[in-house]
């Protein structure tokens, strides 16, 4: 029973037997703990994606007749509207991410480094509060503000800055406002966390050794906050690229967002094959952009998420 233990007369032998079984028990616990994650990954992420991949490789040759091929992907590249929408969505998402970073960084710096105690928590909470209502309601809020008969339009007419009603919805700027607003919190949280961990004396040392505000920011604050910046950007970019509600509601019919294309293929055109191909292309696009973003900022994925 104890091949590594020569003395069978050891009085602790019985206890050792129990101790030796412990790793097996730990293994069972480990798998039990892993099970929910594994199930979730398999059933909700991996299986649907395999299914989507298989559907996207089916080409309709006649009603209810399919052949395997890359025809759906070929259609994407031959139809300018599709890849124009695709490129436009990517560029707009990158721009929205950059704008969100530009706005969120000073806000986060102020919360993390300038404010102390109660005010700090209060301001952080203020960033959080809009997220207690659903994205739909928040987007409608912007529509109430920006539409032709909306508050901003009326205000402009009342002050005499505009002669007639001004339509501010259904353009790219409005979409951008909506996207940045929706994403703010997801940039502020990682930034505040990393900036909080920056020792104040590093900033003081930066000034003490002759740096000014700009050089201290460039040489000390931003390099320190880099993991937070990158993880915030990844989250915001993914959310924006996959956003359906905001571009559709604020941008209207002409918003040309790629998720809308996928929706219309699946629901309106009932062309699941092309829709699946679009879905996979969007996944590849976001992966490529995130990967090149990490390469450009010389960060690794594990460093950013760790």
């Amino acid at each position: 029973m104890f091949p590594h233990h020569g003395t069978g007369a050891d009085p602790r032998a019985g206890r050792r037997g129990r101790v030796m079984r412990l790793p097996q028990g730990m293994k069972l616990g480990f798998f039990l703990l892993l099970a929910p994650l594994a199930l979730w990954l398999c059933l909700l992420v991996i299986l649907p994606h395999i299914d989507v991949l298989l559907i996207s490789l089916r080409v309709k040759i006649a009603p209810r007749q399919y052949a395997t091929g890359l025809g759906n992907y070929a259609e994407f590249f031959t139809e300018p509207l599709y890849w124009n929408t695709f490129a436009r969505t990517a560029v707009m998402s990158i721009l929205a991410t950059a704008l969100t970073l530009l706005i969120a960084f000073p806000v986060s710096y102020y919360i993390a480094k300038v404010l102390r105690g109660k005010m700090k928590n209060l301001l952080f909470l203020l960033c959080l509060i809009p997220f207690w209502v659903s994205e739909l309601v928040r987007t409608f809020g912007w529509m109430i503000l920006l539409r032709e008969t909306g508050i901003v339009s009326n205000l402009l007419q009342w002050t005499g800055l505009a002669d007639g009603p001004v339509e501010m919805l259904y353009n790219d700027a409005a979409i951008m406002v909506g996207l940045v607003y929706t994403s703010m919190l997801f940039m502020v949280v990682p930034l505040v966390t990393t900036l909080d961990s920056l020792d104040d004396s590093l900033i003081e040392a930066g000034y003490d050794l002759g740096g000014n505000g700009f050089t201290v920011l460039r040489e000390i604050v931003v390099p320190h906050a880099m993991p937070g910046i990158v993880s915030g950007c990844i989250i915001v970019f993914m959310l924006t690229l996959g956003n359906y509600l905001t571009p559709t509601l604020i941008g209207g019919k002409d918003s040309l967002w790629f998720t809308e294309q996928i929706y219309s293929q699946f629901i309106t055109r009932f062309n699941w094959e092309l829709g699946s191909a679009f879905g996979l292309l969007l996944l590849i696009l976001s992966s490529v952009i995130v990967w090149s973003g990490l390469k450009l900022s010389r960060q690794t994925f594990s460093e950013t998420m760790g």
Partner: protein, 381 residues
């Protein structure tokens, strides 16, 4: 060598936080090339004072002059002053060489010159090969040296040090004390060092200011503070002391006769000029090393204060060995340093010894607190 020209001069500096006065009308000057320490307990205002010199805080009133120029309204990045922070504040995102080069880059020194200066600075702190290393690859002592090199490469008029040795372990701290002092001698930069550790201040400094509750109690050479303290706070804070509170019974120009609150009569010398009136409250300090210890009562006959008692505890620590003796008359404990001659190597706990000290060794300071009435003498009398 320190010259008479002042590198730093503080004139009537006051700084308040709300109702609390952190620095209360402090004036002093530090001669060029000297090592000046500000010694005080935590919360005495020394860090506030240092941060005002560095420019991170403004004084409510008063002026700080560095090399004769007023620093009023000048931000930290334009002062000819550099600071070694308590936790060093090395930039973890840069290599050692980049850390040292940081200040030079801000001054737009040409690249080739930066490389030469960084190499020379690292050479000076004995880390010639550390340039490409990351900060987290360095040991505690090496980090200290990089922090010093990062400041000295800028050739500041004044180097401020905010308790940089506090985080080191004891052995390394002892070593760095000597190293810092030697470095200061070699480069000749004026150092202003703040600490709560009296040994750091005494070992390294040319001049020490003892600070308490926002004020300077005394400024002087370490020897002056040790042998000739001007206030009760300095006597108690610098070095070890036996301390009694008592009341003056009689005084003349040679000394005072006082009785402690436990009824022990002592002959002491006033530490300050002026006379102490009979009946006024006093504090009396006697250093453990100025107490003469004898087994034979006749050997201490020459000193004014003579006591005897039994040894309570032996605190043997090589050169810093002490015994606690319980005074037979009052039952109070007196700390006595063991002489280095080995004469008392066989001393045991419980043994009766005679001990005493001269009038000049007992420093007597007036107290502001009301004089305690002498308690009735114990049964031993």
């Amino acid at each position: 060598m320190p010259s008479t020209e002042a590198d730093l001069e503080c004139r009537n500096i006051v700084r308040r936080f709300g109702n609390f006065t952190a620095v209360d009308d402090v004036s002093f000057s530090v001669p060029r090339g000297s090592f000046f320490s500000i010694l005080g307990p935590s919360g005495c205002g020394k860090t506030t004072l240092l941060r005002m010199m560095a420019g991170f805080l403004d004084a409510d009133s008063g002026d700080i002059l560095i090399k004769g120029g007023s620093m009023r309204g000048i931000p930290p990045n334009r002062r000819p002053v550099n600071m070694i922070f308590q936790h060093l504040a090395l930039f973890p995102m840069m290599t050692v060489a980049e850390n040292v080069a940081y200040g030079l880059k801000r001054r737009r020194v040409p690249k080739a010159q930066i490389g030469r200066k960084v190499a020379a600075a690292l050479e000076r702190v004995n880390l010639p090969d550390a340039g490409p290393k990351r900060i987290d690859q360095l040991s505690g002592g090496q980090k200290q040296r990089v922090a010093i090199a990062r400041c000295l490469v800028l050739e500041p008029a004044l180097l401020l040090l905010d308790e940089p040795l506090g985080a080191l372990d004891l052995k390394l701290r002892e070593h760095m004390k000597v190293e810092l002092k030697e470095l200061q001698n070699a480069v000749g930069t004026t150092f202003v060092y703040i600490t709560h550790d009296q040994s750091e201040a005494l070992v390294m400094s040319d001049q020490v200011a003892v600070m308490n509750q926002g004020r300077f109690e005394q400024v002087g050479r370490p020897q002056e503070l040790y042998y000739d303290p001007k206030t009760a706070f300095v006597a108690g804070f610098v070095g070890d002391s036996n301390r009694w509170r008592g009341r003056v019974e009689a005084a003349n120009n040679r000394g005072v006769r006082a009785v402690t609150e436990h009824g022990l009569p002592l002959i002491a010398a006033p530490a300050q000029d002026g006379t102490l009136a009979a009946g006024s409250g006093v504090e009396i300090f006697v250093r453990p090393e100025s107490v003469i210890l004898a087994r034979d009562e006749a050997r201490i006959e020459s000193v004014e204060n003579r006591l005897s008692g039994s040894v309570q505890s032996l605190l043997f620590n090589g050169a810093n060995s002490y015994i606690l003796v319980r005074d037979a008359r009052t039952g109070g404990e007196v700390m006595v340093a063991l002489p280095q001659t080995g004469e008392f190597a066989d001393l045991n706990e419980g043994e009766t010894v005679h001990f005493g000290w001269g009038r000049e060794q007992a420093k007597c300071f007036p107290t502001t607190a009301p004089a305690p009435t002498p308690a009735p003498a114990g049964g031993a009398e």
